[in-house]
């Protein structure tokens, strides 16, 4: 169990950290023409707390005798395909590719996603209930995990709302959007499971992870604040549209 949890978390940690580096490159390239992006900064801050969180958890589980549970593996295992899809699309875009795929209509595998999500949530709630039934020792060390559960769920809600709004006019779904919408709630669930194991006494919350999780809280709050400000129009970021199209001219 420990080895599987370690491998899954180290893999995910490396992906998120690489993703943070990619976003730094994007920010650096666009800084001169578009100015500073608070959205980019906040996203980098989140990637550099999510990535190290998974790396730390994986390294502790794999090499330092840390605890690892089955639910932990399940959460990472279900979130990983979406995370990998999003990452692969971003790598594709970095090398000049399309960076997204349009899914026309609502194919069967998309239509069962909500049912899967409900089943997953119910299973997780039941499993957490079972874990907590063995005894609860509330500790302030789980505070960042609970806060992150709510913040990541909120971000997931924003993403889901946009996908649902776009679905009608576009007549389909964006693969990139669906992947991202799945990533955030599963991240939140991972923190909830971690908190459940911690209060049940199965996990010891080590200081390294606690530092990273407490850094993730202001990063996530900053991100939500930026998104909210962009929706309210309090400030503009890199969301300036392109200029109007010119008449088509082709020169031999």
């Amino acid at each position: 169990m420990n080895a599987a949890v370690a491998v899954a978390n180290i893999g995910l940690g490396l992906i998120y950290t690489c993703y943070g580096v990619m976003t730094i490159i994007d920010l650096k390239n666009g800084w001169r023409t578009n100015g500073l992006s608070h959205f980019g900064l906040a996203w980098i801050a989140m990637a550099f707390t999510c990535g190290p969180h998974h790396l730390e958890h994986g390294l502790h589980a794999g090499f330092a005798g840390g605890s690892a549970g089955a639910l932990d593996l399940l959460a990472v295992g279900l979130g990983a395909p979406a995370g990998l899809t999003w990452f692969a699309l971003r790598v594709e875009a970095l090398f000049g590719g399309r960076g997204d795929r349009f899914i026309r209509g609502t194919p069967r595998w998309v239509s069962i996603l909500p049912w899967l999500a409900v089943a997953y949530a119910a299973a997780v709630v039941a499993a957490i209930g079972w874990i907590l039934s063995h005894g609860v020792h509330m500790t302030p060390r789980i505070t960042p995990n609970i806060l992150l559960l709510f913040i990541y769920s909120l971000i997931g809600y924003y993403l889901l709302r946009t996908q649902l709004n776009n679905h009608g006019p576009a007549g389909g779904w964006s693969l990139s959007g669906l992947a991202l919408t799945i990533v955030f709630p599963t991240c939140g669930v991972m923190h909830a499971i971690f908190a459940a194991y911690a209060v049940s006494g199965s996990y010891a919350v080590e200081s390294h992870g606690l530092v990273i999780d407490w850094l993730a809280v202001p990063a996530a709050i900053y991100f939500v604040w930026v998104v909210r400000a962009l929706h309210l129009g309090t400030f503009t970021d890199w969301n300036d549209g392109a200029e109007g199209a010119l008449p088509q001219v082709a020169i031999a």
């Binding site: 976003t23 994007d26 100015g35 996203w43 505070t143 129009g233 008449p247 001219v249």
Partner: protein, 559 residues
């Protein structure tokens, strides 16, 4: 609307920056205490409970207040923040050992900034609430709680005294802040909406402030403009000389009262004519700064040049047939006994030139209607083949030039207007014939795809280079605008063509190469085509923009 009686005047002129600052500090302090506290071990009993309350209630609450503080005079930020602070302090008094008296200092700080951010009435309410909560905490808190009168009474008297003292100071400051805020808002609104670029330079010639029009003029974001030297970013020039700002603003010292005609080179090395003015203003630190007002007069200059050129070319174009008509008319009057053959020849010349003159005048009138926005085209389902065949036959007969029609029959019906489409085809055929003076063949090709019907008119004449092709649809634009004009014309033909195609919801494009000729392609909507759904199948190039798109950040067209 108000949270409690009297709140309407409490909120008036509140310092929203202070509210925001307090919200940030509150969130940071609560989060730091919760984070640092969570590292302490062992964590059981009252301390653990307090830290859990702080983390799970204090952090979300202070985050909500921080978000609400984005909006000036938001009631949750102004009043909800201090209420949350009061409850957090009460939690500390009730849950921590020996905390009742030390936390009184926290109440004192809370009252002090609440007077400033929410007003004296609200602060007085907080003082009263703090007294009550302190006694409750003393009763329900853990054992060994001390509440000595010698400490408690002076602190509460101090808090009560702070309220009117701070209120008096802050009321004066609030009025000044409100006035300054109004003036700043007014100035910002004016600067944001003024069409001219306005920017301010400091004593070293660096730009310290600029408005959105400056960003549009320089095609740079504000972040790339502010802090940069004016001479490097703007680079004003008079004649062929760059203005020397090394010893102060050159524009300020040498400008004409009505502004100075200057220019600058754009990033695309294009000459951009400008009208600029400068004036000295005292800066925030008392040192003199220079405010520049710059207007891009490129369009004005282009319009002036185009109209001058148009007057010259139109006069020339009108004069040629008029001279012929006038000459033959005079001849007929002067020599009434001309033989029939000569008389017929004169009538034919007058008739031909009259038709030419009518066509020029019609083009001018159509151009004027388009410019005035009075072009109305009624769209219908049109079979373009008979129209194309008729125009080809007519041109072949009248111009004695080979015009070939290639089609893939049967063509679907197109959404168009017959007179407008006839004008478009005639203009493009005229153009093709005019710019292929060697008698090269002209070809018309009509073909349909899934959504549109394309009509391409190709000549193998002189062709155009990239710059000419990019401007060929501009009004009054001509490939040859110098004195040596080989082809004549008024420069409005292609402008009319594009306007008519647009009115038919079509598109026109040009493919050209110097010496090889040009192909103008008019794409008209198919009558039977369902408007194509154009789902966005490509992600954004950068991760930042892609995430923005997926989370629904609205796009803005600022520049």
């Amino acid at each position: 609307m108000t949270a409690f009686p009297g709140a309407w005047w409490l909120s008036a002129g509140r310092d929203s920056t202070a509210v925001r600052l307090v919200a940030v500090v509150r969130l940071a302090v609560i989060m730091c205490i919760a984070a640092i506290g969570s590292f302490a071990a062992p964590l059981h009993g009252h301390t653990a409970r307090f830290l859990l309350v702080l983390g799970l209630v204090g952090v979300p609450w202070s985050t909500s207040v921080f978000f609400c503080a984005d909006r000036p005079d938001n009631r949750i930020a102004v009043y909800g923040g201090p209420i949350g602070d009061l409850l957090m302090l009460f939690a500390a008094q009730s849950l921590l050992n020996n905390a009742v008296e030390p936390v009184l200092l926290g109440y004192l700080v809370l009252v002090a900034f609440t007077v400033y951010t929410a007003g004296r009435s609200f602060a007085a309410l907080l003082v009263a609430a703090a007294i009550g909560l302190t006694f409750i905490a003393h009763e329900i808190g853990p054992g060994n709680q001390q509440l000595r009168a010698s400490i408690t009474i002076p602190i509460f008297i101090g808090a009560a005294a702070l309220v009117p003292l701070l209120e008096r100071t802050t009321a004066l400051q609030a009025r000044a802040t409100a006035q300054s805020e109004r003036l700043r808002t007014r100035a910002d609104t004016i600067l944001t909406h003024v069409a001219d670029a306005v920017f301010v330079t400091d004593t070293t010639g660096r730009i310290v402030l600029c408005n959105p029009a400056t960003e549009r003029l320089l095609r740079l974001p504000a972040a790339g403009i502010t802090g940069s030297p004016c001479s490097a970013v703007v680079g004003l020039r008079a004649g062929e000389r760059v203005l020397d700002c090394s010893t102060g603003c050159a524009l300020l010292h040498h400008q004409a009262p009505e502004g100075q005609d200057l220019w600058r080179l754009t990033t695309g090395e294009r000459r951009q004519p400008l009208l600029a003015e400068a004036a000295e203003v005292p800066g925030a630190d008392g040192r003199m700064e220079v405010v520049h007002s710059v207007r891009d007069i490129t369009r004005l200059k282009q319009a002036e040049e185009a109209k001058t050129l148009f007057l010259a070319t139109a006069s020339h174009e009108l004069k040629t047939p008029l001279t012929v008509i006038s000459g033959f008319a005079s001849t007929l009057l002067k020599y009434p006994d001309l033989n029939d053959e000569m008389r017929l020849s004169a009538y034919e010349a007058i008739s031909t030139r009259s038709v030419e003159l009518t066509r020029i005048v019609e083009r001018l009138l159509l151009s004027s209607r388009i410019e005035a926005g009075r072009l109305e085209v009624k769209l219908e389902h049109v079979d373009v083949m008979p129209l194309l065949r008729e125009r080809v036959a007519s041109y072949t007969a009248s111009m004695h030039r080979p015009v070939t029609l290639h089609t893939s029959d049967p063509l679907p019906l197109a959404v168009a207007n017959i007179p407008a489409l006839t004008t478009v085809v005639d203009h493009l055929l005229d153009n093709a014939i005019k710019y292929s003076p060697g008698g090269e063949p002209i070809e018309i090709c009509a073909a349909a795809n899934e959504y549109a019907l394309d009509i391409g008119i190709t000549d193998h004449g002189v062709g155009m280079d990239a710059d000419q092709a990019a401007h060929c649809f501009d009004r009054f634009w001509q490939a040859e605008s110098t004195d040596v004009r080989r082809f004549g014309g008024t420069g409005i033909g292609l402008y009319i063509v594009q306007s008519l195609v647009d009115a038919m919801h079509g598109r026109i494009s040009v493919h050209s190469a110097p010496g090889e000729g040009s192909t103008f392609t008019v794409a008209l909507r198919r009558a039977d085509a369902v408007p194509p759904q154009q789902p966005r199948v490509e992600g954004e190039a950068t991760s930042i923009r892609e995430f923005m798109r997926q989370i629904g950040v609205p796009e803005r067209n600022r520049r």
